[in-house]
Amino acid sequence: MTDTMIELRELTKIYPGTDIPAVESLTMDIPRGEIVVFVGPSGCGKTTSLKMINRIIEPSSGHIVLDGEDVTNVDPDQLRRRIGYVIQQIGLFPHIRIGDNVATVPNLLGWDKERTRARVDELLDIVGLDPDIYRSRFPKELSGGQRQRVGVARALAADPPVLLMDEPFGAIDPITRTRLQNEFLRLQDELQKTIVFVTHDIDEAIKMGDRIAILEQKSIPAQFATPEEILTAPANEFVEDFVGAGATLKRLKLTRIREIDIIDDCLTGSITEDKHTLRRKLDESDWTALLLLDEQHRPIRWLRAPDFRHDRPVDQMGLPAVAFVEPHATLSDALEEMLIGSAGVAIVIDSRGTFQGILDIDTIINSIQLMRDESAEFYRAEKLIDPAEVVS
């Protein structure tokens, strides 16, 4: 086992009838288990580069080495069954059911029925679609977001070590896209696939990538580095322009909630407790509000002192709890949830909806402050060794 999953060696593509190569001599090592994002302006050859990996587009010259094996000349159909493929238009087969769509590659590989069936159910479950409901539906009966989930499930069907994704969330509305991105990152935490991901959206690249390749025309990498490096130390003007303004704001997308200290000692009460106990808890604490949890410890409502004046059942008092985020979400997601929900705090829950803690605006501001200090130090350090400065 090497640490590099995909090696691209001098890959070049010249389309027939053109002189200028679409991709010129692309050489890159894609590390095992990481998400590498190809990002660049339209027409830079990023999609062509991606499609040469599974040879949907045959390279004009150069080599592709997959897990130590040169696959430039192997049978393309066999190769593609080892590589998951997700495209923007999804391309679900409209004439067969969701279950059969997901079973495409297992069927090609000749798995037996029982194994395929079990795998299909498992995958639908993984991508958050109830197999009993969705297995026998047709693609047209699903929403765009659901279809893309099926697209991902289908690509994962035979458990390929490598996944190629060509703007997978490009055609989906922003809110669903954010949700799918988060779910996908959570999935990747477990799966540890090697993923090559193409997008034209730098924000998506920063969010999804363990490593980002910013590509110029002819797919020439302007910088191939971690998102942090690209934001704090852009290699050249092209990268700087492409990343654009608001690098600090973008760094909010890099910090995940689990990486910062959330408030986990806030006041909570259980729905099983009676009104007086809850009231007393609130009065005795320094908190202005109490978060009511249900039997499974899932947050349901915010209660404040005046709410107890109304004679209502506990589960109808106060305001419904909003702005839920999961620990793997970014600070930017949390901020957005707060703004959407007009709430001063975001509630952190785990994937089962269990209460973990809360996050307020101050927490976020503090972490921005911390980031700014770090980059200030970074730039000061740069300046210290700047030869121009030494001379003057």
Partner: protein, 190 residues
């Protein structure tokens, strides 16, 4: 019968025309060229080859059936969403599997519409077969109708023959609706 033979032949030609672009124009031109031959002349031309009787009309009608079916096969295959084809390819489905499992089922509604048009077209033309010794409802119109004008009953024979042909067309059309219902995958129906 001509429809069935025509359909098999035409779908094959259509796939060929779809696959190999250079062949596409020539195949489409050739089939439309057949349709421009007046049916009576076509029947007559075939008589020296296969003689008088049912054979000449059957061969001729097979050719007439070609055009609408070939056209629709090409149109149907071309209209299949390229994303679907690319997805299939990207998952390692070979060219033949793609054609049979993905492209043809998705093009089927359009192909079937072509077969339906071909059938209706042929029902109309069949009547003329009577002139070259073929059987069928044409006999009613020509032998007992037009040829015997103005003897009594000739008009009734013409009207009767025509009426039955129209009725037949309507019935066949309905049958096609049923075939469509049975053979078009549910995921493709509106």
């Amino acid at each position: 019968m001509p429809v069935l033979v025509g359909a098999v032949l035409a779908v094959a030609l259509g796939i060929l025309a779809h696959r190999y672009r250079p062949l596409r124009t020539s195949i489409l031109n050739l089939t439309s060229w057949f349709l421009t031959i007046p049916s009576l002349a076509f029947f007559a031309l075939l008589i020296p080859v296969v003689g008088i009787g049912d054979t000449a009309p059957i061969i001729a009608m097979t050719f007439y059936a070609l055009l609408p079916i070939v056209r629709n096969t090409v149109a149907g295959l071309t209209s299949v969403d390229q994303a679907i084809v690319e997805a299939a390819k990207g998952m390692g489905m070979g060219a033949r599997a793609r054609l049979i499992k993905i492209e043809l089922p998705n093009a089927w509604p359009v192909i079937l519409a072509g077969i339906r048009v071909a059938t209706l077209l042929i029902i109309g033309i069949t009547a003329i077969a009577a002139l070259v010794g073929g059987g069928g409802l044409g006999q009613e119109i020509y032998s007992r109708g037009i040829n015997r004008i103005p003897s009594p009953g000739s008009l009734e024979a013409i009207l009767g023959g025509t009426g039955i042909i129209v009725l037949l067309a309507v019935i066949v059309d309905t049958i096609y609706l049923g075939i469509g219902r049975l053979t078009i995958p549910r995921g493709l129906r509106d």
